[in-house]
Symmetry: C6
Subunit: 74 residues, 6 copies
């Protein structure tokens, strides 16, 4: 795997939230490395409310980590 | 994506809770950017008890982050 | 939304637990504002063991926040 | 609701774990106050592996809270 | 219940991880005390990918607690 | 079980994320020690969007632990 994560520090909370999204997606990518498969799964998944809530949950967990790393951008 | 999150600091716990709700919704929006699709999914979802509990769970996780950022409004 | 949350500080752990329950319910209420719909969903939900466990999970997450806010009532 | 929780402090980690179990059960009890209904749900629930794992998850979340309250019994 | 947990302190991270597994299993055992029932549930459960992921999630939550108790073995 | 975890400290956040993935997998391995069974479960699992999200969730929880252990690589 190439380098994709060198720091948890971000300039703004929004960039931190977007990093949390990237972490959530990388958690998937390590388990399913095929972009072709992931793209095939996306349409059904993105139209299922519970799947979207579950995705948001993983983002929330990663955002906890990123926010703590940035001392909550205080 | 336009700027939507510039700080985790809120004046009151209730504003913090409402920010947590926004974070939960943005976690969905980044995965499903189409407002049309999200609106279509909402009715069934909002009438399913387990879906509502799952939504409340994501809010709880984000509220942990926002509350910590605000030093729990102590 | 009227004011419903002005502090996370409670006198006792039990009051803190009951605040956590309130937070869990408000997480639902923001998504499904209709009391009529929520009341309609309750019977089936309250007789499903997994639904009850999920509800208890959201309470546990919110209780983590409230307990930390109160420095664990030490 | 009568008084059932006056402190999160316990003498040993095991008592803390058992308090976490109590918290998990009280999270259910506040949603389903009827002992008759809870007893009726128990048999099927206690023979379903995923239900048991979910129960253990709620205990784990509450044990995080209790352990922190006790400074991990260090 | 006999004494099974006297400390969260372990000599190594791996022993801490194994304690987290024990905590996850004890969370189940308090809900389903019958070893006979638990053994009967195991085969199907151990061959279901989502059940295994859920089990790993409970371990992760308990490992958070054990790792914090040990100051992350730093 | 042979030694597989001697430290939570990693040189970079990415190595920490990869350790979190290892922890998630070991959480499964302790429950299902058979590599043959795990390999058999993988194809269906890796093509199910919700299973992948659940896997990413466990990684997120373990990454919280590893990141805290490393003081967020600040």
């Amino acid at each position: 795997m190439e380098t994709w994560l060198t720091t948890l520090i971000t300039k703004t909370p929004q960039e931190g939230f977007e990093l949390a999204i990237k972490l959530a997606r990388m958690g998937v990518k390590y388990t399913q490395p095929s972009a072709e498969v992931r793209d095939r799964l996306r349409p059904a998944y993105a139209e299922n409310a519970d799947s979207l809530t579950m995705a948001s949950q993983v983002v929330a967990l990663n955002f906890q980590t990123v926010a703590a790393a940035n001392n909550y951008w205080r």
